[in-house]
Amino acid sequence: MEGKNNKGHFEKFLISPITISLLATVISVLIGLVLGGIILAVCNMEQLIPGLGTIMTGGIRLTGGVKAMARFCYYAMPLIMCGLSLGFAFKTGTLNIGASGQYWVGAFAAIIVASAGYNTFGSFTWVIAVLAAAVAGAVWALIPGILNAYRNVNIIISGIMMNYIGTYMVSILIKNVKLVYEADQSRTLSIPEGTILPKLGLDKLLPSSGAGANAGILIAIALGCVMYFIVNKTILGYELKTCGFNREAARYAGISEKRSVVLSMVIAGALAGVGGALVYLSSTGNRLPITDTVSGIGFTGIAVALLGMMNPLGIILAGFFVSYLNVGGANLQMFGFSSEIVEVILAVIIFSCAFAPKIKDGYYTMINKLFQEKEVEHTQEQIKGVKK
């Protein structure tokens, strides 16, 4: 295996895990965009170029750059938070499919606290509300976590159940809590003006009508950095990752794998809960409806987490990317397409990410073949040289 040590920098770069993951992700995104383009082309060839152009430019040209940027930041908040939630749970080998439920419960907790606590806490209410959302989300994730760790219940199934239970329970609660219930429109009342997340001048920088950029996006980015630190630089992160790679090995090494599963779910749930709070504390116009459909945000979060390669910093970028697609997609109606095409593109991206291991395998063998052939040639030349 001497050849392996002598590999050049370029070769090392080509087979480093980061390059391979990045390549697989880029390929997935390209497949998604190409397929989306094909669908648009089949539907309406003439509008293909402006349609795709709108998706790619995030609608910046159409709506005036600044306004689109504000929307872009606003959409990115929940995506980043749910992506972080999924990505963190994935490190422990669990797929937190219940992020939608945690998001919903968190949003409701934030609204309740904001409405009830404004008189007591004044302008700091939003901090308490965000914390309450984190707790609510954590509790909602604690149940599948405990069931998985101690009762061997499949965490995906229990996550799906908790999504529905959460959505229905919030609907029941909205109806029964007089404080926040607006019966006419079967949704919650507006939160008090003073409990909206501070704008920190971001609304001056990126002015927009309705909900736009505010402290929420900074909180999301900060939490992403914190998660990066926890995952990569702390004992806790190391233990959780060990559990993700091999639960038996982790137990053998003295790590309590039950505790790890529960803990990672709780943290993941708190992140998704905060995501809900950030959105519903962004504007008085955001009011939680009584509904029986589970929010799709947790599923989009999976796309974000996959695109971010489960790395918190990558997830922040991926969150912005997906938000960018969404903002662009919202403007597609001008060309006679519906904005759902963006969801189709996202689904294709997730689908291609699902078989990323296969792409990586193929790439790896390809590179290896390429360089092995070169190595063989190289040694043959050397042998010839010695003979001469």
Partner: protein, 317 residues
Amino acid sequence: MSVIIFFIQQVILFTVPLIVAGIGGMFCERSGIINISIEGNMIVGAFCGCLFLHFAPESLHGQFAFFCAMAIAAMAGLVYASFHALASINLKANQVISGIALNIAAPALSIFLARLIIGKQQIGFTNSFRIEAVPILSKIPFLGDIFFRNVYISLYITIGIIIIGGFIVRKTRFGMRLRACGEYPQAADTVGINVYKIRWIGVLTCGFLAGLAGVMLVVSTATEFNAGVSGYGFLAVSVLILGQWNTRGIVLASIFFGVMKTLSAVYSALPILDTLSIDAFYYRMLPFVVTLVVLAVSSKHAFGPAAAGEPYDKGRR
């Protein structure tokens, strides 16, 4: 008496699609592939079936049109499921992630295409598929009123599917092989069973039945299709688990879910329940809570197919 008959008939309407989708899920998971994209398959099936009914000419009406719609829906579900099969069997993808992707794509595609083809999201159709009364059999007291009056043909098709599905999985050579692939594919392979082929058949059967279930649900409970089957696919997954992956269990669990669904829809029409005035959302929530509790109690000794969720790799020991 008429209240009881009305209630039971409502339960049948909600239960029938659940049973069909649940049995589809059984074929899939018994072969060792987790399928949470049943929801997506149902939506695609319902979309294609309803689109057919929307454009079906006047001359083509009644049971024949419904039958064609069901055939189209089933084929559409089968085609859609082939993506899941390709990803999870041949490309060794994470089966849950592939399923989620298909679940996101299905409603989005159906809205996109519906807007493109008929200009709006909702696909309306005229419902003329209810059978008023089956000759002779509808004369039977009570039972005749329930099973042979004001019913859809989907009820009889479902009874056929229950019997045939149960028989195939329990009693035939194919069923044995199917279960072997879900329990221990390596062992199945050593005795000459083509694991990939069996799993493909399992996933495609699931897609076929889920598509069928989708159109059955929409036609019998609505007058238009609006890009969704209100979580029925996920309900089917929980029915499958609550039913412990066998036909009898699936039927019983479906009936339980159907009763709860009916209670949430018609409780105000029933004098006894109306006085209790329990919110409809409690009835909707209960099936999920019960599934969770049953899982918590029974999962310690997992009953599900042992190899479900793991891609089969021939070379692995």
